[in-house]
Amino acid sequence: MPLYFPIAELSFNVFVIIGLGALVGFLSGMFGVGGGFLMTPLLIFLGVPPPVAVATGANLITASSVSGALAHFQRGGVDLKMGWILIAGGAVGSFLGAGIFGLLKRLGQLDLAVSLIYVVFLGGIGTLMLVESLGALRRRHGDTAQPARRRRRHVGWRHALPFKTRFRKSRLYISALLPLGVGMLVGFLAAIMGVGGGFIMIPAMIYLLGMPTNVVVGTSLFQIIFVTAITTVLHAFHTQSVDILLSLVLLVGAVVGAQWGARVATRLQGAELRALLALLVIAVGLKMAWGLTMSPSAPWQIDWVLP
């Protein structure tokens, strides 16, 4: 059953799109990640124009983060003060990102920039995850008895920053510039890559800000909803590249896939799961890199100047 997506200006079999949503939803449910960093490249591989893939990806993440954020909020797992500062930073980052996005689109270099940034992030994060999970697997098999985790070191410069603020829920007294900066980076990535940015934000919250793990996921989801919402509005306004129909059809698959994935995950081991996800992330990154370096099938590209 073909369906024409009015902003992507393409027709796809609706089951292919639901299936893609289900696949990414399944993986995100299984691994507990947002899945934006898989959704956007897969949409691009399907032939969706990169600007539409990025903007629609951001829109989809708003939807897929709502119920999780609400659940954490009700459980008291959101540090609101930290969240609002992260969002303020995210808004600035997203604004900058959307501006650069629009500029790159006008210059005809957006597709390249999106691919490059994906290659770097997918390659880097995939490799880190693979190393970490293989290490965990080796430890479990009792090769070497390593200490579970090194103590977090207090970096001096973090305390030298001004605007120190008390975050009761996180039991922290740190400079507000830190969450502002983290939020900005994540907002920027949301706008350029169409991701929620949890894969950057969660490690940053734990290792850089030093937040306790019980508020990390909730606060990050809280920030992601607002920042992806802002990003969606900015992209809709600047480049008209948000495809509501595409994001709704993807969501249908993603919701079902996520439930299924979460169920499968309970039967699998954590480290093995992470190694699997790492391999997948690396594979997607390699496919993107391949696309950048191999001889293009379409060397010429037309961009219409709209009247």
Partner: protein, 278 residues
């Protein structure tokens, strides 16, 4: 997709035409042969073309379609008379920025090559024979027939005349062809004049068909000279729900963005509730 179909009544009516030529004398077909041989009066020969649909609506299930352009040459020509037809469908003309991928440090990067003004977003041509056999180059140039002879202004990015014009043109049509937006077909399979009078050609319209005003030019040549030309207008436009979404996104972008977010929040929240109940 719903399409306004035009029943090919005209074609049926034209089928009845040959007997009408007997007004000039008895024995229509033979009469036509002799007139063509003795008094080649190209001025009097006309073409009566029509198109199977004058409105193509891009709806939710549009995956491309086929356009039928048909008609008759009147009065009919002798079976082997040197007449030729060219049917060219042109999409809306716009300005295009043409970029070419170049390898820089192992990576393919887009480089702006030229700015093409009045470039058609779609061009499909059917002809009874290769264009070079139908009419001399000057004639084709004057009539603007064929991809190479369309009046496209090729400029350098800074607006001056580009020395790369032929290359840029070729690149432009290659890029169109990738999406099925440019095709040239010649020969009897593409377009044939049956019994010296009836003709028809099929033009494939791809799924990535751009919106806008199209025109179909039908030209008749006799011994390399153009003798008649007719133009048909047709429209391609988005329709239904998709059209509404597209126009909403482009005319009220801020409101569209807010609605997109509201929908996402609602859908995400609803989905969460459904699954939590279980």
């Amino acid at each position: 997709m719903r399409i306004r179909h035009r029943p090919p009544l005209l074609a049926l009516a034209l089928l009845a035409l040959p007997p009408c030529t007997s007004l000039a004398g008895p024995g229509g077909a033979i009469e036509a042969t002799t007139t063509a041989a003795t008094t080649p009066s190209p001025r009097t020969r006309r073409i009566v073309p029509d198109v199977s649909r004058d409105l193509v609506e891009l709806r939710y299930d549009f995956t491309g379609t086929e356009l039928l352009i048909f008609g008759a040459v009147n009065p009919p020509a002798a079976p082997h008379a040197p007449i030729d037809l060219v049917v060219a469908i042109e999409g809306p003309r716009r300005t295009a920025l043409l970029r070419r991928k170049q390898k820089v440090a192992g990576i393919w990067i887009n480089r702006l090559v030229a700015r093409l003004e009045d470039a058609p977003a779609f061009y499909a041509l059917s002809a009874t024979r290769p264009l070079a056999d139908i009419a001399p180059a000057e004639v084709r140039e004057r009539l603007e027939i064929g991809a190479g002879r369309l009046p496209i202004a090729v400029r350098r990015p800074d607006g001056t005349k580009s020395p790369l014009a032929p290359e840029a043109r070729a690149g432009f049509f290659a890029a169109l062809a990738m999406n099925g937006l440019y095709r040239t077909e010649t020969g009897p399979q593409a377009l044939r004049i049956k019994d010296g009078t009836l003709f028809r050609t099929r033009i494939a319209l791809p799924s990535k068909l751009p919106e806008g005003d199209y025109r179909a030019r039908v030209l008749l040549f006799e011994k390399g000279r153009p003798v008649a030309e007719r133009t048909l207008a047709l429209k391609v436009r988005k329709a239904g729900f998709e059209r509404a979404i597209f126009h909403f996104a482009h005319r009220l972008p801020l409101a569209y963005g807010i609605v997109a977010v509201a929908l996402a929040l609602l859908a995400g929240w609803g989905a969460g509730r459904i699954f939590r109940r279980r």
